[in-house]
């Protein structure tokens, strides 16, 4: 079984995000970077599926040369190969990214045969465009399910559980298939020392993408205006219960 997982390098999602003074981007001087959370789960899923079914896994990212760090993180978690589509910007727009990834998949498949499964994150933590996986799947003529929180692969078929409000819907897809997964499908492992050492030495394949215009061009980033009203302190423990119950009454819950 051959699996390709596509990831994006993003600032650590717990961090406080500040903008550069001209609003052209995020001030990254004091930020750590990580694989976007849904995609980290896609990496874990790829590692588990490759181990369960036998086969190889490859991680791919389109990003600045520094995104090699995220490829090595994925390799440390157990992915076999890394492919970087280097660009001289932090990101491209989603239609351009999908086009470049489609080209890269075709190149990799021409060389070594088709991937049974392509895994994407449902959306990136930063841009949140919700479309790259779907565009790639459509261009390759493969079925895709998004919002996937559970996947079972049997011979020639994937059974995917798609998360909806208050439950799941179940879908079956013929392979080769594409899944856009969500956090909750698994709990990503923390890489063992051995994996981290191997990842340091792993060769990263470079596949420079053809520049293209996707049609959506960022002009500026802005922080929303926040109305900061002072927090009313009700108390320090049991003494605050009556005031809290008053609030429940005010909003009509009591």
């Amino acid at each position: 079984m051959r699996i390709l997982v596509c990831v994006k390098r993003v600032p650590s999602p717990g961090a406080k995000i500040t903008l550069t003074e001209d609003g052209s981007g995020i001030d990254t001087r004091h930020l750590g970077f990580t694989i976007s959370p849904h995609e980290e789960c896609a990496v874990e899923e790829a590692v588990q599926l490759a181990a369960a079914h036998g086969g190889t896994s490859t991680v791919l990212t389109l990003g600045p040369p520094t995104a090699e760090e995220q490829l090595r993180n994925a390799i440390a978690m157990g992915i076999d190969h890394g492919v970087l589509l280097p660009i001289d910007a932090d990101e491209w727009d989603p239609r351009a990214v999908a086009g470049a990834i489609t080209d890269a998949v075709r190149t990799l498949e021409d060389e070594d045969g088709p991937f049974d499964l392509l895994l994407f994150g449902n959306e990136s933590a930063d841009a949140g465009n919700f479309q790259v996986g779907v565009r790639v799947a459509h261009a390759l003529g493969r079925a895709i399910v998004d919002g996937v929180k559970g996947a079972e692969v049997t011979d020639g078929e994937v059974r995917a559980r798609r998360s909806i409000p208050d439950g799941f819907t179940v879908h079956t897809l013929p392979t080769p298939a594409v899944l856009a997964v969500k956090e909750g499908i698994n709990l990503p492992r923390y890489p063992a020392m051995r994996g981290r050492l191997a990842a340091k030495k792993a060769a990263i394949r470079q596949l420079p993408p053809t520049p293209r215009d996707g049609g959506l061009r960022t002009l500026r980033l802005r922080a929303p205006q926040q109305e900061q009203t002072p927090t009313r302190i009700l108390g320090s423990g049991a003494d605050a219960a009556p005031a809290a119950a008053d609030i429940l009454e005010e909003v009509g819950l009591l």
Partner: protein, 326 residues
């Protein structure tokens, strides 16, 4: 004359709140461009919904009729039906809500038309050679202004960011049937089964949410939140820390990678309030935070706070509620 088209959803026979928001933005765009506003919806469209679409300014409602297009329909099939409607109408812009289904359908529509798509927008204005749009990033902590260059604008509207407002003059609605021709392979990803989460109040729509984080201390620590939720008809939520620790199922997680909630009251217990969590609860009408740290973002951003030990406060709150409920 070209149009602005909006895909709307009507689960349970009523127009979805997110669809009202999308219609509001679409009508502003249509008014600005001097074009009629059309709506598209999966058939059957109940009379009440048609009436409400008129109140929101839609002069034509396209009922998309096909036996496979129901609650279990595959996103590519709905997208292809919509694409065929685009062929017929050649609208200047197509909007929908960034709901669960809207998000998937618009991604497929963008792929099938090879048009750019701006997801989670809060504003869209025609400019010379295209549109200027504003969309949310990082789940809503940042806005992005962008230029959209396309023959037809495709955009989804971010939930809870636009205030839904009916038109000043309701439109007289013409109902048209749109019967798409769909290949069998479009239905491959139809839902074949459903699993409902067992009982209880839905986290996404509960009027009050009791959410626990690191400060709850253990999986067992959540029992008191279950009790409180039970007393008030609310739901229990949690932070990413609680799911990563294995204390709660991921379906309970409130945050950017979990569920977005907008209850009347959000009660955050022992949650520090990292950005990833904040974007999941920031649309709550009122927030009460319980935390030992007065500087925690969840406390400073809350309307009300208890700065102290939640293990003292929560049992006292249970007692107070029971006393008042008699």
């Amino acid at each position: 004359m070209t149009t602005v088209l909006t895909l709307i959803e009507h689960p349970d026979g009523t127009l979805a709140r997110t669809s009202r928001e999308a219609l509001t933005l679409a009508r502003q765009l249509a008014d600005h461009a001097g074009q009629p506003l059309h709506a598209a919806a999966l058939a059957p469209v109940p009379d009440e919904v048609v009436k409400e679409l008129g109140e929101f300014g839609a002069s034509v409602v396209h009922a998309i009729e096909h036996p496979e297009l129901d609650a279990d329909a595959a996103a590519p099939a709905i997208a292809e039906a919509l694409r065929q409607l685009l062929d017929e109408l050649t609208p200047s812009a197509v909007l929908g809500s960034a709901s669960d289904r809207g998000t998937a359908v618009f991604a497929h529509l963008a792929a099938r038309t090879d048009l750019p798509l701006a997801a989670n927008c809060t504003a869209i204005t025609p400019v010379e050679a295209g549109w200027e749009i504003t969309r949310i990033r990082w789940g809503g902590v940042l806005y992005e202004d962008a230029h959209l260059d396309a023959p037809t604008a495709l955009a989804t509207v971010a939930p809870h960011q636009v205030v839904a407002a009916a038109a000043s003059m309701p439109a007289t609605v013409e109902l048209r049937v749109h019967a798409p021709v769909l290949d069998d392979d479009l239905h491959v990803t139809r839902s074949v089964d459903r699993e409902e989460l067992s009982g209880g109040v839905s986290l996404a729509t509960a009027p009050v949410v009791f959410a626990g984080g690191r400060g709850m201390g253990s999986a067992e620590g959540f029992a008191i939140l279950e009790e409180l939720a039970g007393l008030l008809g609310g739901a229990v939520g949690c932070s990413r820390v609680a799911t990563n620790a294995g204390w709660r199922a991921h379906n309970d997680q409130v945050g950017q990678t979990g569920t977005r909630v907008a209850p009347d009251l959000y009660i955050a217990c022992g949650i520090s309030g990292a950005t990833q969590h904040w974007v999941g609860c920031m649309n709550a009408k009122r927030i009460l935070s319980i935390n030992t740290d007065p500087e925690a973002p969840m406390v400073t951003r809350a309307d009300d706070a208890v700065v102290g030990d939640l293990h003292d406060f929560l049992p006292a709150l249970v007692a107070e509620i029971k006393a008042r409920q008699g």
